[in-house]
């Protein structure tokens, strides 16, 4: 009912969603123009100078939206503009592409191949040619190789994947990690820092560094009854291994030419490489050698060889040594 004292302005109206006036329903001329209202949809219509019915405004004061559904509205010379190159699906934003079906917690900004996405665990993803779906699978966006950089809890992860079929799950390999302590880790065996000073790339790759202690097992005595190892440490740089330690050798004979014993070493020798070490007795007046096997085979063992004549102790002599050899890896 109209308010007393006021004269209401009535428009053509419809309460049915989707209803729009036809051009013949409205008049537009210099003497006056009619409006029509769909009060269900919240849209106000008019007929423009070409005789086409247009939306003049929408509910909420949004005005006339441009483009198609999910396209982001922007100021295009004073009116709403839209483009298929800027699409928001309610969770993810696509720039030049329709967003992929990301998992609900990721909330990505996506380009044709590249994406920047949230990691629900508190980190971030920068992905190339893959997206993370709702089943926590990385999916190829196109048939090509893919890579991924992830930050999570202060650790940086680098992944890659060989070329796969668009729409299928990618098997990402963790290639490198920078952990939250600042240590850089090469996750794949044989990979490392490459010095490009040679065409033989394998031989110019520093792929290992390790230090530690080691223990051994003695066997196959000749002119000896027992041996022990102490102060045993090692340094391995690439294929080069240097063992440090002290062997106490107990002789059983003061005659003969050589005494020796076999002992295990922590990295297998490279076959065919003449590894040999010189051992100095603690007394300073006796020497021994560390020798590989006589067939040059690759094996995790070595010989401790002493001239019997140099065994100066009553029963047991101590020999400090460093032994550098080439390992298989």
């Amino acid at each position: 009912m109209a308010q007393t004292g006021y004269t209401p302005i009535l428009l053509y109206a419809s309460g049915t969603t989707g209803n729009t006036p036809s051009a013949s329903n409205l008049t537009s001329s210099s003497s006056g123009a009619e409006l029509a209202l769909n009060y269900y949809d919240g849209k106000l219509f008019y007929k423009d100078n070409t005789g086409t019915v247009q939306v003049l405004a929408g509910k909420g004061g949004t005005g006339v939206v441009a483009g198609s559904n999910t396209q982001v509205q922007y100021n295009n010379n004073g009116v709403f503009g839209a483009s298929a190159n800027l699409t928001f699906d309610g969770t993810n934003l696509g720039i030049g592409v329709t967003p992929s079906a990301w998992g609900s917690t990721n909330k990505a900004i996506e380009f044709s191949y590249a994406s920047f996405a949230n990691n629900s665990g508190g980190g971030a993803y920068v992905a190339a040619n893959v997206y993370l779906n709702g089943s926590s699978q990385w999916i190829y966006k196109s048939t090509a190789a893919a890579s991924l950089y992830q930050q999570s809890s202060g650790t940086h992860y680098f992944y890659n994947a060989i070329s796969g079929t668009s729409g299928t799950a990618a098997s990402l390999t963790q290639a490198m990690t920078l952990n939250n302590s600042g240590t850089l880790i090469f996750n794949q065996s044989g990979q490392g820092i490459q010095f490009t000073n040679s065409s033989a790339l394998t031989n110019s790759t520093l792929n290992d560094y390790e230090t530690g202690t080691w223990t051994t097992t003695f066997s196959a005595y000749s002119n000896g009854s027992s041996a022990s190892l102490s102060n045993a440490t090692y340094i391995k740089i690439g294929k080069q291994v240097t063992l440090f330690g002290e062997i106490a050798f107990t002789k059983t004979s003061a005659s003969g030419v050589l005494a020796y014993v076999n002992f295990t070493i922590p990295f297998a020798t490279n076959s065919g490489v003449a590894n040999c070490g010189i051992v100095t007795g603690e007394s300073g007046n006796s020497v021994a050698i560390l020798s590989p096997y006589n067939n040059g085979s690759s094996i995790s063992a070595c010989y401790f060889v002493i001239p019997v004549s140099s065994l100066v102790g009553a029963t047991t002599d101590n020999y400090a040594f460093s032994y550098t050899y080439q390992a298989t890896f």
Binding site: N179, N180, S181, E210, T211, G212, T213, W214, T215, T216, T217, S219, A220, Y234, L258, Y260, N262, T264, I265, P266, F267, A268, A274, C276, S291, P292, Y293, N294, N295, S298, I299, S300, A301, Y303, V305
Partner: protein
């Protein structure tokens, strides 16, 4: 600030002749984050009974790899060995 230390076998390698190279790591953590890893290495040759007393998975690897034929072949090869020049 909480420090802890855990000892694990973090690497094993089986050679062609059945020898098992073992690396044990002492992993030191501070508040759950690893800050250091100290290594100790040793070797078990086919038939070495000491492998049964090693931490897992060394005994299982030895049991799987060291068949009678592997042990026999290794021992035969050792019996024929001498240091170079001897």
């Amino acid at each position: 600030m909480t420090f802890s230390s855990t000892t694990i076998i973090d690497k094993t390698e089986v050679l062609e002749d059945g020898t098992i190279q073992v690396r044990q790591a002492e992993v030191i953590t501070k508040d759950g984050n690893e800050i250091a890893r100290n290594f100790t290495r040793w070797v078990r040759t086919p038939g070495d009974t000491a492998a049964q007393s090693d931490p897992a998975p060394v005994p299982a690897i030895a049991a799987a790899v060291w068949t009678e034929s592997v042990i026999s072949a290794y021992q035969a090869a050792q019996a024929a060995q001498r240091p170079i020049g001897v």
